[in-house]
């Protein structure tokens, strides 16, 4: 029986704790009768150990100790191979998979890992066998690429270079001979040497035969993304905050509106208010002095966080939720499940009651 799947996309800049929060959220969602899967991207070794993830694979495996939870780690190369096998004619697919640019593209095109992530997400949704899917996104462009990748990839494969060289129609393979005969390309050939340009053009030509099917796929993926719940994770540091602002500005173009911003490593504002007040209940004067001075530092930091978040809170009519800063990084399944316990307002957003 096909299930109605709730998809939660966890996005944000690199280093803000996306992967940890994705794992914590998936643990929270999973129940023996609510099959939940989390797709991670590049988890730290101890987190991978906690989820029992030992290699890149798009195939989810059960997480020990959490009934109903499965996890996987994005394998971008395998996702791209899957795309080629599904959307290219068999002989083209074979040529592409052997082409030495293919792996390079899958590894290097800035949105390539993100596209692989979106494709894997869509495939998971379409199996109809999950109640909840949590997607950790590649950090490229502060997480924006995850939403822009479907159309960007279709554009790339649409053949900017080929269109420029040959006009709108899809040229035959014979065109390559004509094309290297052009004086302009002779220069390009001198600059780049050898047959590089011709190799690349032939490769792009093969990719371009997939264009129609891939463009259709891109639009399906975008529909899945619009139906999903999107959480943007940030810290109060200036760089991730700037990425969040950029995120909101550029996402309206693809009709995505985030459902919440999660401020990770948040400090209680009460600490800022307590600075300068007498410290009570600490009889030892030395300890009192040290803790008072320490509170002044952390209270100042809490104040700085509050100021930094003023620009974000309510700015786009999106709730700002805070995930407290904990000394012990949550790396076991038990710690992870505690991380989101006190995040007020999160449960209804992700469909928990």
């Amino acid at each position: 029986m096909r299930k109605t799947t709730r998809t939660v996309i966890v996005t944000g800049a690199g280093g803000v704790g996306k992967t940890t929060i994705s794992a914590a959220l998936a643990i929270r969602l999973a129940e023996p009768d609510r099959r939940t899967v989390v797709m991670t991207v590049d988890p730290a070794r101890r987190l991978a150990d906690a989820l029992d993830l030992h290699s890149l694979s798009n195939e989810p495996s059960p997480v020990p100790g959490v009934p109903g939870l499965w996890a996987s780690t994005l394998d971008a190369t395998a996702s791209w191979e899957g795309v080629v096998q599904r959307y290219a004619d068999p002989d083209v697919a074979e040529r592409l998979l052997e082409n030495h640019y293919f792996r390079a593209i899958a590894d290097r095109f800035p949105a390539a890992q993100s596209f692989a992530g979106t494709e894997t997400m869509a495939t998971m949704i379409e199996t109809g066998s999950w109640d909840a899917i949590v997607i950790d996104t590649p950090p490229s462009a502060g997480g924006l690429d995850f939403f822009l990748a479907p159309s960007q990839t279709a554009d790339l494969i649409g053949g900017k270079l080929l269109r420029w060289l040959t006009g709108a129609q899809l040229p035959g393979r014979r065109f390559l001979y004509r094309f290297t005969g052009k004086p302009l390309l002779k220069i390009a050939d001198t600059v780049l040497g050898g047959a590089l340009l011709e190799d690349v053009a032939e490769f792009l030509l093969d990719l371009r035969t997939m264009y129609d099917r891939l463009a259709a796929r891109a639009s399906t993926i975008q529909q899945h993304q619009r139906r999903a719940t999107t959480l943007v994770v940030t810290t109060a540091d200036p760089a991730p905050v700037a990425e969040v602002l950029r995120f909101f500005e550029e996402l309206t173009d693809v009709s995505i509106s985030p459902d919440a911003v999660l401020l990770n490593r948040a400090l209680p504002l009460a600490w800022a208010d307590a600075v300068g007040r007498p410290v009570r209940g600490i009889p030892n004067p030395e300890i009192r002095a040290v803790l008072k001075a320490n509170l002044a530092l952390w209270g100042g930091e809490a104040r700085r966080q509050a100021t930094a978040m003023e620009g974000l809170a309510g700015r786009y009519g999106v709730p700002l939720l805070t995930v407290p800063w904990v000394a012990e990084p949550p790396i076991t399944v038990d710690n992870l499940s505690l991380l989101l316990d006190d995040v007020a307002g999160l449960d209804p957003i992700v469909g928990l009651t």
Binding site: W164, T190, A239, P268, W271, W298, T307, A327
Partner: protein, 287 residues
């Protein structure tokens, strides 16, 4: 660290690369060097750490002896074609650069050669004693450092290949170039630093002249259980967070190879310009 002509600063995203690049630039300029600090494509933090709104492709004067600039791809490409490959202007270079810009997105190594070409070109120039590169994060560093080899493997002849060979020689020359890695005492950052060091050493791509541990917390000097025994209050909670973080950091500080310099976590700084200036004061004695 500051004695060579080219200093590349990299590290995991978010560890403070731009702040450290700016701080090293400030120190070198204080010592009377003519310094260019250069942000590679995608680095947005450098401008604010230098205390300016934006950086352009033309070097901007920040303070006496200190200049900042940002590399963007289309400028770098035009300059690469004109200055480094000596493409004559009578040809339809606009179209050629269109074609190359698509190639740069597609063919391995081309994009990196074009953007790395700029700081190296500046390092060769007599205008500067030192060029500091606020480089892409460590995850992409390898594709930049290995771009010359990638190109020489793919392209048998031609101007791009010759340029790639010059680039490779410059990076690998320990009298000219070195790499500094910035990390924080956290699992992922330290792991990535260790992997990067192993790869750079194995490929003998560039000399690593230092690893800087950033945002290091100082111990309070009070045992954690003495704090835990106190009645609940903000002072107790902040004390427990601090001592807990110090304990977690100690584990990763020990795991940082060649960790020769540490920078403290800076509390309560509101602008990034303050951060770089403060870090410069702290680093002054050790570089």
């Amino acid at each position: 660290m500051l004695d060579r002509r080219l200093l590349i600063v990299s590290g995991k995203g978010g560890v403070g690369k731009s702040a450290v690049s700016a701080a090293l630039g400030i120190i070198a300029a204080r010592r009377g060097k003519r310094v260019l600090v250069l942000a590679m494509v995608g680095s947005t933090g450098l401008a604010s750490h230098l205390g300016v709104d934006t950086l352009a492709y033309d070097p901007t004067r920040i303070r006496p002896g200190l200049f900042g600039m940002a590399v963007d791809r289309s400028h770098a490409l035009d300059e690469y074609l004109g200055l480094q490959l000596h493409i004559t202007r009578s040809l339809p270079t606009r179209q050629l650069s269109n074609a190359l810009s698509v190639l740069a997105d597609t063919a391995p190594g081309i994009r990196e050669i074009i953007t790395m070409g700029k700081p190296i070109f500046e390092a060769w120039s007599d205008k500067w004693d030192l060029v500091i590169v606020d480089a892409p994060p460590i995850g992409q560093l390898q594709s930049y450092l290995s771009a010359p080899q990638t190109i020489t493997g793919l392209v048998p002849t031609g101007a791009v290949r010759e340029q790639a060979a010059r680039l490779e020689t410059t990076l690998a020359d320990p009298r000219v170039s070195s790499l500094v890695l910035v990390t924080t005492p956290e699992e992922l950052a330290v792991q990535e630093t260790r992997e990067a060091i192993a790869e750079v050493d194995a490929g003998r791509q560039i000399l690593i002249s230092g690893v800087i541990a950033n945002r290091v917390l100082a111990p309070l000097g009070i045992p954690q259980d003495a704090i835990a025994a106190l009645p609940d209050s903000p002072a107790r909670a902040a004390g427990l967070l601090h001592t807990g973080l110090v304990e977690a950091q100690a584990l990763w500080l020990d795991a940082i190879p060649r960790d020769d310099r540490r920078l403290p976590f800076l509390f309560g700084f509101h602008t990034t310009g303050e951060v770089a200036a403060r870090l410069a004061d702290i680093l002054e004695a050790s570089v």
